[in-house]
């Protein structure tokens, strides 16, 4: 038994090339900073960005992978879904690094560990997007979580420390549930490989009870990561406590990665149980959308407000998941892309408005922003419009897609809930705009005027508009990527 287990699989490192590049770069940066404490952070940033670029190139190379569907003993999937998810995540990481470089330099808390930690987290994210075995999903999940716990607490501010503790305790709690889910799946089918699980379940050989328990536990674990009600409670605190660049990175990155994995698990392993888990996702989606949009109204701190809006958006992606198949997947992918763009942009503006550190994140300090900086006000307006789903922005197209997919799958009432919730949400997005344009500034605090970060924030803005007006550019690619091969 031992022997037959120890026959080692053929080694094809190609499909995990991106992760190898990322971790390699991370190690180089880590040791470089350790050996030469005086090294300039611009150097670290540059090396890290190069690493990301390299990883991106490798993943693009995987687009036309001819070989097996999964490599390394079925651990890693090689489909285009993984490629697209990786590329989105790498872009997010790049933005996060640039933000962080600027932010920590200004707040005087520059720490060399920031760069390798972001890289490790990114490696975890990209790996989870490609994982075809629950063991690997779990490991990747932990890699990104552990890095993010530390990143959240990387600043010495009290709120940052507290945020990291909350995030850690609840995160560990949820990952225990996730691991239990893995155990259940294994118990039900005798394998942790997604494809094997699917076959076992399709062949009725597995134990249905354990399988359902597995779905439930795994769903809980993912639900925590994507901040779905009622597993969302950590989100506002952590998003508010963490340094803004970290918030931007984790808000965008974690959600994309976790959803990528969730989609893969639900659509491959547990596809035979679709009828069983759809009602679950359906309900959670409805509750999440409503709760997120509703509670956001009462927020007085923009980071918290954005946190709740991110909860609501998780709900919208879940709506897409209720529509199984390529249609739903591509809708979800586009939504995630759009969401990543707008949330990166919004938090970028927040970072620039609160100039140094976390000074001014209360909504009050956005009054009359238009007078102080037209550019920032304009950018934020664009991102808010996109978050509210008003044309001509990517957010609008994304919502239309999701709703369409759900309706096509016959989930009428859910879409109705979604539409109403987004109307409610429009209230508080517009409130911020009114603050910015139609009220007097309350203090004369200057927003950050350094040019390069503004350029960085402008990038997602341009893309938001571009994808809002010509979504065709990406939709084609996403359609191709929306087929899971396993």
């Amino acid at each position: 038994m031992l022997a037959q287990f120890l026959i080692h699989p053929p080694i094809q490192l190609g499909p995990i090339g991106p992760e190898l590049v990322l971790t390699g770069t991370a190690i180089v940066v880590l040791l470089g900073a350790a050996f030469n404490p005086r090294i300039g952070h611009s150097t670290l940033l540059l090396v890290s960005l190069l690493g990301l670029a390299g990883a991106a190139l490798v993943s693009i190379g995987l687009w036309d992978w001819g070989g097996e569907l999964t490599v390394l003993a079925g651990m890693v999937a090689t489909d285009r879904f993984a490629v697209v998810a990786r590329l989105i995540l790498l872009g997010i990481a790049a933005m996060g690094l640039v933000y962080g470089y600027h932010y920590f330099r200004r707040s005087g808390e520059a720490r060399a560990e920031f760069y390798p930690l972001v890289l490790f987290a990114t490696a975890g994210m990209t790996l989870i997007a490609a994982a075809a075995d629950l063991i690997l999903v779990f490991l990747a999940l932990e890699i990104l979580s552990l890095s993010l716990y530390v990143l959240t607490g990387i600043s010495a501010r009290l709120s940052s420390v507290e945020g990291s503790m909350k995030y850690f305790l609840l995160g560990a709690f949820s990952s225990a549930f996730f691991l239990y889910g893995v155990a259940m799946a294994y118990g039900a089918t005798g394998s942790t490989r997604l494809s094997a699980i699917a076959h076992a379940l399709a062949g009725q050989t597995g134990s249905l009870g354990l399988a359902l328990a597995a779905v439930a536990f795994l769903g809980i674990g993912f639900g925590f990561k994507v901040a779905a009600v009622p597993f969302h409670m950590w989100t506002p605190d952590v998003y508010q406590g963490a340094p803004t660049p970290v918030t931007a990175f984790m808000a965008a990155g974690t959600k994309v990665a976790a959803f990528a994995a969730l989609i893969r698990v639900l659509e491959t392993s547990f596809q035979p149980l679709t009828l069983d888990w759809t009602p679950l996702v359906w309900t959670i989606a409805a509750v999440t959308v409503v709760a997120g949009s509703l509670i956001a109204i009462a927020q007085t701190d923009i980071k918290r407000m954005l946190a709740y809006s991110s909860i609501a958006h998780a709900g919208f992606v879940l709506i897409a998941l209720t529509a199984a198949g390529q249609d739903g997947i591509s809708a979800a992918l586009f939504y995630l892309l759009a969401y990543a763009l707008m949330v990166l942009g919004a938090f970028g503006v927040v970072m620039l408005v609160s100039a140094r550190g976390e000074g001014r994140t209360s909504l009050a300090s956005y009054a009359g922003l238009y007078r102080r900086s037209r550019l920032l006000a304009g950018l934020l307006t664009l991102f808010l419009l996109s978050l509210a789903g008003i044309p001509p922005t990517a957010g609008f197209i994304a919502k239309v897609n999701v709703f369409r997919a759900a309706v096509a799958a016959g989930h009428w009432p859910l879409v109705l809930v979604g539409v109403l919730a987004s109307v409610v949400a429009a209230f508080f997005y517009i409130r911020v705009m009114v603050l910015m344009y139609m009220q007097e500034p309350q203090d004369d605090a200057e927003p950050d005027r350094s040019p390069w970060p503004r350029v960085a924030v402008a990038v997602p803005a341009v893309l938001t508009l571009l994808f809002g007006v010509f979504p065709g550019i990406v939709l084609g690619v996403l359609d191709k990527a929306a087929i899971l091969r396993w």
Binding site: L170, I295, I297, F334, A408, V419, V434, F470, G472, D479
Partner: protein, 626 residues
């Protein structure tokens, strides 16, 4: 020629972009650039018209494919521009009137700190409006629809230093968005039930067989809800009078000539749905008629120059929907075109008055202005006669035809009510005329005539207001009607009714009667209208406050648990609709603050919520298993 039709919306867009980024540097050139682009766009539109006229009547439909906009799975939306008589008519109105108003704004907005931004918004509006009328599918139309809403929001609140303007802008946005939401659902329903969003695929009579007529009723009513919001019909009309806080050119372009008519365009465009379900058509008719008369009476009670015009706009739009309800689509479009001319003319003249009086809009502080600004007075007079429906001005033909159709259609009551409305509109417009330009001088400062850059556009519009009638001399055989027939279908002559000549005489008499009464009370000086107002204070207040329905409803609104009734109620009254919006807002606020308290900041409570979720999920699993 049609190759370049995309330029018509593209030019304003370019202008908007340039003025947004370089508006400051351009200085005065910003306005000239914007207006120039609009003029070019108008010329292009004329070219398109000429091309279309060369085609035989039944082939006048060209779809210009600009590429796929969205294409995912079974869902394809192409970015197509639809060029047919209807869209060309709208296109001409938007570019023509738009160009004139842009020129006028050069003078009117002169010296405003945000000069460039103003023209940038105006151009952007024109772009969205053109997208709306040229769209070949519902989604593109909706894009334009939301876009014009956004621009109107920006322009109403253009002087956001004034709290009134800011709140009015917000109100307009929220109220119209109520309609928009219904409309979006309607569009979704169209795609779901009819399988496509493309006009050519959906808007054909044979679609009737696809679904039971009930479906079409629902769709039509949902779309109409959107139209009601945009075109400020009862019960969603209350945002328009407040919208007068915006600069006067904005009122003229957006809130009189173009945007508010988008609803009329929508119904005319989708009239197929409405005809398949007769019910929806009746609803349109009733809403239109009620609005027409209700707004006319309200206009009698207003003392604010622009608010009178606002209510008159609502009333005129009501007439348009009334005509649509009678299946007299061409007549409605005819009124739309002529109304665009004379209402823009009235607004711009009003703007000229305000310009001369330093922003004064209160009728009680005007009078005898015809001496100080004779040209403006003359122009205003032309507009007034047009709207009152005095032959041979354009307004006469348009309104007369609608009345004629009403009479023929057999709705005798409707005809009489509409006739009363005609009398009222003649009355309130003459009241306005005499109070502002005749009688004794009550102004507090020396008025002065406006510069030519403002008066010349007035003249241009006046020409349109006077001779616009030639477009459609008769219900059936008019030029415009014939031109639109391929899209909107021939009007089926209703049986019976009085002969045309008699009808014309009657409606002219109604108009003249209105003017006569107006002159008697406000112009002749024989009657002391101030004393009259004091004597009939009750009546005046009654009208000024929109029939006191406000208070009736505001009391009924207080009663809890009547959210629905309260909503319908509030819609009749602006204060209450604000109350309602705020009320809803407060409801959410309350729920939100409740939900917010769940976030105690204590890790263990978070863990508790987590575990509760776990238990619930496992309850589900258990149920699922057994």
């Amino acid at each position: 020629m049609l190759r370049s039709v995309w330029l018509v919306p593209a030019l304003p867009l370019a202008g908007a972009a340039i003025n947004l980024f370089a508006g400051k540097r351009l200085g005065r050139w910003a306005g000239i650039l914007a207006s120039g682009l609009m003029v070019v766009a108008f010329a292009l539109a004329l070219g398109v018209l000429a091309y279309l006229l060369r085609l035989p009547g039944n082939e006048r439909l060209v779809v210009r494919h600009l590429g796929d906009w969205i294409s995912v799975g079974s869902f394809r939306v192409a970015a197509d521009l639809r060029v047919d008589p209807l869209s060309v008519t709208m296109m001409l109105v938007v570019t023509g009137v738009g160009a004139v108003i842009h020129v006028y704004s050069i003078g009117y907005m002169d010296g405003d700190p945000r000069y460039g931004r103003f023209f940038s918004y105006m151009n952007l509006f024109c772009f969205f409006m053109l997208t709306l009328v040229l769209a070949q599918n519902f989604l593109l139309l909706y894009l334009g629809w939301e876009g014009v809403g956004l621009c109107s929001y920006l322009l109403i609140g253009f002087w956001f230093e004034r709290p009134l303007a800011a709140s009015a802008a917000k109100k307009a946005f929220v109220v119209t968005r109520i309609g928009d939401t219904f409309m979006l659902v309607g569009i979704a329903l169209v795609f779901l039930r009819l399988g496509s969003l493309d006009f050519s695929a959906v808007l054909r009579p044979s679609i009737e067989s696809v679904q039971p007529s009930g479906v079409f009723t629902v769709i039509a009513l949902l779309l109409f809800a959107g139209a009601v919001g945009k075109s400020a019909q009862v019960p969603l009309h209350t945002w328009l009078p407040d919208a007068m806080e915006g600069p006067t050119p904005v009122s003229a372009l957006i809130h009189a000539a173009t945007m508010v008519t988008a609803g009329v365009y929508l119904v005319a465009r989708t009239h197929v749905f409405f005809e398949i379900s007769g019910v929806a058509l009746t609803v349109v008719l009733v809403i239109g008629l009620v609005t027409a008369v209700y707004a006319a009476t309200c206009a009698l009670g207003q003392d604010d120059l622009k608010r009178v015009l606002a209510y008159s706009t609502i009333s005129q739009l009501g007439y348009m929907f009334f005509a649509l309800g009678l299946k007299a689509y061409a007549a409605a479009l005819f009124l739309l075109v002529t109304h665009a001319f004379y209402k823009a003319l009235l607004f711009l003249s009003a703007g000229s008055v305000m310009h001369g009086l330093g922003g004064e809009t209160d009728l009680k502080r005007m009078g005898a202005l015809r001496r100080a600004m004779p040209f403006t007075a003359a122009m205003f007079g032309v507009g007034a006669l047009a709207i009152a429906g005095v032959p041979p001005l354009s307004g006469y033909f348009a309104k007369d035809q609608i009345l004629e159709v009403a009479n023929r259609s057999g709705y005798l009551i409707a005809w009489l009510v509409a006739l009363a409305g005609a009398f009222l509109s003649a009355l309130y417009i003459s009241r306005l005329m005499f109070l502002a330009f005749f009688g004794q001088d009550r102004t507090e400062r020396a008025a002065h005539e406006s510069p030519p850059v403002m008066t010349v556009p007035l003249a241009l519009l006046a020409v349109g207001a006077v001779f616009g009638g030639v477009l459609g001399l008769s219900v059936t055989s008019g030029r415009l009607q014939g031109f639109l027939a391929p899209v909107l279908g021939e009007l089926t002559e209703g049986a019976g009714g009085l002969p045309t000549a008699v009808l014309s005489v009657i409606s002219v008499l109604a108009a003249l009667a209105g003017i006569a009464v107006g002159w008697l009370v406000y112009g002749s000086g024989k009657v002391d209208w101030v004393a009259l107002r004091v004597r009939f204070a009750g009546v005046h207040e009654f009208l000024a406050h929109g029939w006191y329905v406000d208070d009736v409803y505001s009391t009924s609104l207080v009663a809890p648990g009547k959210a629905g009734a309260a909503f319908l109620a509030s819609a009749v009254d602006q204060r209450v609709i604000d109350g309602c919006v705020n009320g809803v807002g407060q409801l959410f606020q309350w729920a939100a603050s409740r939900g917010r308290r769940l976030q105690t900041g204590l890790v263990r409570n978070y863990g508790l919520a987590f575990l509760v979720g776990v238990v619930l999920i496992f309850v589900y699993v258990g149920v699922r298993l057994s």
